[in-house]
């Protein structure tokens, strides 16, 4: 490193710090202020009261939590399987990594549309299931009568898309485990599944934790994939924030929803950190 004169590095960092201050910290403070303001500018809990009594609120809250509970574990299992397979370095693993990582840069809106082609009435899933003789007639998965199917469609689409991010985090963690550990376990006759459970998982803990935290907090923002597959039939918190601002032109209630998402994000991060005893540098990945 160059000799440290604090002025130069701070000068280089200043634009970033000012920008993030102006466009992240300031809007957050503004949003919280907006949420405690009524349309006439007076302060109070009016927006929160309206948010609370909004008929979609309970449903949106419940759906968002249920989606997280369904999606996050599924992604962890899928990504862990992919990561362990790739890490065994079998011939051709490079091509498989490329394939598994493809959804990494697919947006949740696009993922929702991809799975819409699957789940729509005259879509590919009905074609395949009927072709295999598993169903007698097409199922209307995305109809309002089949809320459980709409929910499953969103879970599948979101798991399909965001597993890739978890995969990359876990693979990076696997690469930090010295090869010797795997070989030692082999010499002592541990079979593959026991080896995985007893040797790899504990050492992979930091990566599993950061993947868990990142996926959970971003799942609170779920939006595009739900809108593409379910429209308004499956309200979620992100959609309510959008709807109150974009369609109802009420920035106060929209800000209340946004603040709720932020509070949930912070709460989950703190709970995870307490439960898993994560250091702050680990969550910051």
């Amino acid at each position: 490193m160059f000799r440290s004169e604090a002025a130069l590095p701070l000068g280089l960092l200043a634009p970033t710090l000012i920008y993030l201050g102006l466009l992240i910290l300031l809007p957050v403070a503004q949003a919280v202020t907006l949420s405690f303001q009524a349309a006439d500018g007076s302060f109070g809990l009016d927006a929160y009261r309206k948010m609370w009594s909004d008929q979609a609120f309970t449903e949106a809250f419940r759906n968002t939590i249920l989606l997280i509970v369904a999606i996050v574990p599924l992604q962890m299992v899928l990504a862990l399987s992919m990561a362990l397979l790739i890490h065994s370095r079998f011939p051709g693993h490079g091509a498989f990594l490329y394939i598994y990582a493809l959804p990494l840069a697919i947006s949740d809106l696009a993922a929702g549309i991809v799975w819409l082609a699957m789940f729509t009435d005259q879509g590919y899933l009905n074609t395949i299931l009927q072709g295999l003789g598993l169903i007698k007639e097409p199922i209307a998965y995305l109809s309002y009568e089949n809320l459980q199917w709409i929910f499953i469609a969103v879970v599948v689409a979101e798991s399909w898309r965001a597993t890739a991010i978890v995969l990359v985090i876990l693979l990076a963690g696997l690469q930090l485990i010295p090869r010797d550990y795997f070989e030692a376990a082999e010499v002592f006759g541990a079979n593959r599944i026991r080896r995985t459970l007893s040797v790899v998982l504990p050492m992979l803990r930091p990566s599993l934790q950061s993947a868990l935290i990142i996926r959970t907090i971003f799942a609170f923002q779920v939006f595009g994939v739900v809108l593409a597959l379910a429209g308004r039939q499956l309200p979620v918190l992100g959609y309510e924030a959008y709807d109150w601002y974009y369609n109802n032109r009420n920035e106060h209630i929209a800000a209340a929803f946004a603040t709720l998402i932020l509070v949930l994000t912070i709460a989950v991060t703190i709970v995870y950190m307490r439960l898993l005893r994560v250091r702050e540098t680990e969550i910051a990945r």
Binding site: Y19, L102, L104, A105, I113, V114, Y124, A172
Partner: protein
């Protein structure tokens, strides 16, 4: 005894290897199919005749191949202009983000100074704020200062979203560029800025290109802020989102496939930097 037992052991061992291999490739192939098949099907839907959307059962092979659906999508009102907007916003975000973020990444990679760790953690935490809480107050502010429904406004918020990533990636890139070369240049009489521009920057170019590609895809994909901050002057995903309820299925499928296109090339360029972006090891 041993002479008889040894081939038997070897035979069971080699059979186990074969079974292992079958299980391995079976599992790997199944997961690959799970990832690839939906992409194949959306491409199939996007490149079939428009009327094929109403076929049932659907053809699983491209029997009704046609560019009809895609050209309908591209020529629909608002699509071309929003596509142009998306490209402008993404390129603008790359320029603004790299201009602001590269010096910061360089500083974190090259200098030790008081508060360095604190700043590093602060930058990392700033990428965790929900986009909803940023875009709603910004919409209010942008209306007041005349940036609402402009591409500049979208560029500004997209830059805020990617800036932490750019700082992290460029810091990693400059850590990989030999410091000694730069010091050698300064001892030969170049200013430190000259050494940065002539020595460090050219060596860091591939890494900066990766940061640019990441920025492009992030901006291209972002739909919440783009929808909140614009009305008519919108980006492609916001255009597709706005049309979800009022457009025929073939429009949505073509739009979905169109939105995916950049991501199909993303990994190809990013493989070396994947772990830099999401992994530990900084």
């Amino acid at each position: 005894m041993t002479a008889i037992a040894a081939p038997a052991v070897r035979r069971t061992a080699s059979r186990r290897v074969i079974v292992d291999r079958i299980l391995l490739y079976g599992a790997a192939g199944f997961l690959a199919l799970w990832t690839l098949f939906p992409i194949y099907l959306i491409a199939l839907a996007a490149f079939s005749e428009r009327t094929a959307i109403y076929d049932y059962p659907k053809a699983l092979l491209p029997t009704r191949f046609s560019a009809d659906t895609m050209s309908f999508f591209v020529n629909s009102t608002g699509v071309l202009s929003s596509l142009r907007n998306s490209v402008i916003v993404a390129l603008g975000t790359i320029v603004l983000g790299l201009l602001i973020g590269t010096p910061a990444g360089y500083a974190l990679a090259r200098f030790s100074f008081p508060g360095r760790g604190f700043i590093q953690v602060g930058v990392l935490i700033s990428k965790m704020f929900p986009i909803a809480i940023l875009s709603i107050p910004l919409a209010v502010t942008f209306i007041q200062i005349g940036l609402y429904d402009t591409l500049q406004g979208v560029i500004i918020i997209h830059t805020a979203m990617v800036l932490p990533f750019i700082v992290i990636v460029t810091a990693g890139v400059f850590l990989g560029v030999s410091r000694e070369l730069e010091e050698a240049a300064t001892t030969l009489g170049t200013s430190r800025f000259g050494a940065f521009v002539r020595v460090a920057l050219p060596l860091a170019l591939p890494g900066l290109a990766a940061a640019a590609i990441f920025t492009f895809v992030t901006s291209w994909n972002e739909v919440f802020a783009a929808t909140i901050l614009t009305v008519r002057n919108t980006t492609l995903p916001a255009q597709v989102l706005g049309a979800l309820n009022i457009s025929p299925l073939y429009f949505r499928f073509a739009g979905g496939f169109f939105l995916i296109i950049p991501s199909l090339f993303f990994i190809f360029f990013m493989r070396r930097y994947l772990f830099n972006l999401w992994g530990p090891g900084r």
